[in-house]
Symmetry: C4
Subunit: 207 residues, 4 copies
């Protein structure tokens, strides 16, 4: 897929995610592969469904440095930058979605004081790379911090935790989720699957 194709796909997904309530009120974000170890990154503080392809930043995975800024001087790179780059370095993620979905917040609530959510007994688990529908899949739940960049320390810890070696998502209590994949299509698939799993866990918990 060409660079233009990736930029266009990222903004198209933001429109779709906004319609679903996953990136409301300027919240949430997305990044995708720009080649050469770089990522296209959505700007912060803007209505995500209004982002245009040329509004994306290009950042270096190694340290999040902005390599190329969009023409609009008012735009700033997403606060997710440090987290997206961490997922890229530690898990080889080339696309990461940051969701502010209510279902993610409520699914994190299910963990209570614990640090994980167990997802099981669902065919949709197969939609996550490497899983069968017989697996019990553990997703880490970390605490929210005043600034998103401060989540890095906790995120580093759970990405190194053997329990979560198979997870492509991290829930942030009171906040939402980070969900990734090898490319934008896998990130999209994982995003849809994890939101389904969160909603299913909530519905079964209530029943």
């Amino acid at each position: 897929m060409s660079d233009l194709g990736t930029r266009e796909l990222l903004v198209e997904l933001l429109v779709d995610f906004h319609r679903r309530g996953w990136v409301s009120g300027t919240g949430g974000g997305i990044c995708g592969p720009a080649g050469d170890g770089r990522l296209y990154l959505a700007p912060t503080g803007v209505h995500k469904e209004r982002v245009r392809p040329e509004d994306l930043f290009t950042v270096a995975v190694a340290d999040g440095t902005v390599v190329e800024a969009p023409p609009d001087p008012d735009l700033r790179p997403s606060e997710c930058n440090a987290i997206f780059c961490l997922a890229a370095r530690e898990r080889g993620a080339r696309s990461v979605v940051h969701s502010h979905a209510l279902s993610a917040v409520l699914a994190a609530d299910l963990a209570g004081d614990g640090d994980q959510l167990a997802l099981r007994d669902l065919e949709m688990l197969k939609g996550i790379r490497g899983l069968t529908n017989r697996d019990v899949h553990l997703v880490p739940v970390i605490r929210n911090t005043p600034r998103e960049a401060e989540l890095v320390e906790q995120l580093t810890a759970v990405l190194a935790d053997a329990r979560f070696a198979g997870s492509f998502a991290v829930l942030v209590a009171d906040h939402g989720a980070y969900i990734w994949g090898d490319d934008v299509w896998e990130a999209k698939r994982h995003t849809e699957v994890y939101h389904f799993l969160f909603e299913a866990a909530l519905a079964r918990h209530r029943a």
Copy 2:
């Protein structure tokens, strides 16, 4: 943003809000900045998703006087006029959304006989100007009255109440919410954020 741009954006938002169920059945409304201390105001009693840019009234913030009426002689200015102008004068609001969302009605129910709703423990609080995700944010809840213009007295009181100095929204029991911002984009962001917060408060209350 040009005047035409503001008019077009306001009617576009009405379409979007109607799709979400926030301005059903001709209910709800919106206003935005017309320059020179004036506001563009949607008409009353019409299907809000059908309003055209030329259907908007121009009113003076000082007293709600209609400065310019739309070509269609059947249109009347929104009953929200007095309230919108009050928010503009007291809080500097340049754009106000009046929502008839069910989530706003049910969130107001959570206040019971009290006069406030506390919103807390959510990253989305950051979407409201001036707040951090550690704040406990108080939104005033006022009683409904037979006519919208009669809400003015209560609204004047809560806008002067120190507890609600940081609020950009007022819930009206059995009715909905008024939500504002410095411009249309901030009003849109606040509208999406407050609806998310109302839904989150309801879901956690049920859990």
Copy 3:
């Protein structure tokens, strides 16, 4: 509004109502004014969001006789015909919506063995012609019958019942609702308002 305009508006509303889940699975229907005491009537047994303006029947309000059939010989007039014409004769309705919304079914459940649902304490009551937000609005609930035409007897009774003189809707248990207005726009407004009221009654009952 021209005849073509009415036909086009009716099929546009069917698309919108289908998106909301009010006329799923070929269920539900709509009619609107054709002039000269006649109604445009959607066909039965077809996917309602696929109906074209030329697919509508023209029927006489007096007895439901088909005055003009659509070009497609496979189409048959809606089973709602007798009920729509009854509402037109008894209440002067010029447009009637038949909804199969789940919220209507569940709202009728709230009546239990009774024959009415009370709607109250909601600003949205104002969206129904003649009501204030202080009214307690009674909607009749009738029993379902094997065929829609057989609902006529019960419907005749509730339309003559003084309790329901102000109602523009009848709930049919296990089935849905008939909702009407003086013209298509009022029928649309009433349809949106009653569905909101049904959803609000359900949410408050659960709380």
Copy 4:
């Protein structure tokens, strides 16, 4: 309907079903009549709302053999292939929808350790061929298996079970549903109706 028409309709329905959450995360599928005892079959492992008419496989109903593959060499036929062909042979289904809707998963949960779900007291039952609104309609519920092809044995058994002679759907616990009809339009109608019935059963169970 021409072959091209069928292909286009199938991909249009996938877009609509994706919007409703019935085929999220590359899950779910669809097939339709290709003539000569063959079926058009959606590919597996792809985002279902992105499938193009030329991406469909043509398979023989007799044994699921691929008669014609799409130009894109990366596409593989849906894992539903064996099940779709079984429904075609045993029930004369010419179009089958495989839904991953959460409502189907939760409706199957209502069966507990049993092997059936009873649907009753709903007008929408009429939307299923052969039923009246007085019928108690039994839908079989089978257990999930590691691979979809392995569902064949259970499916063969329930299709031969006299209790389910009138059913056009099979629920798969923890997974979703297969729903079929004589042609694509009936499959679409049955799909919308069964999802409504699942949602109604869940809502009434909670009440």
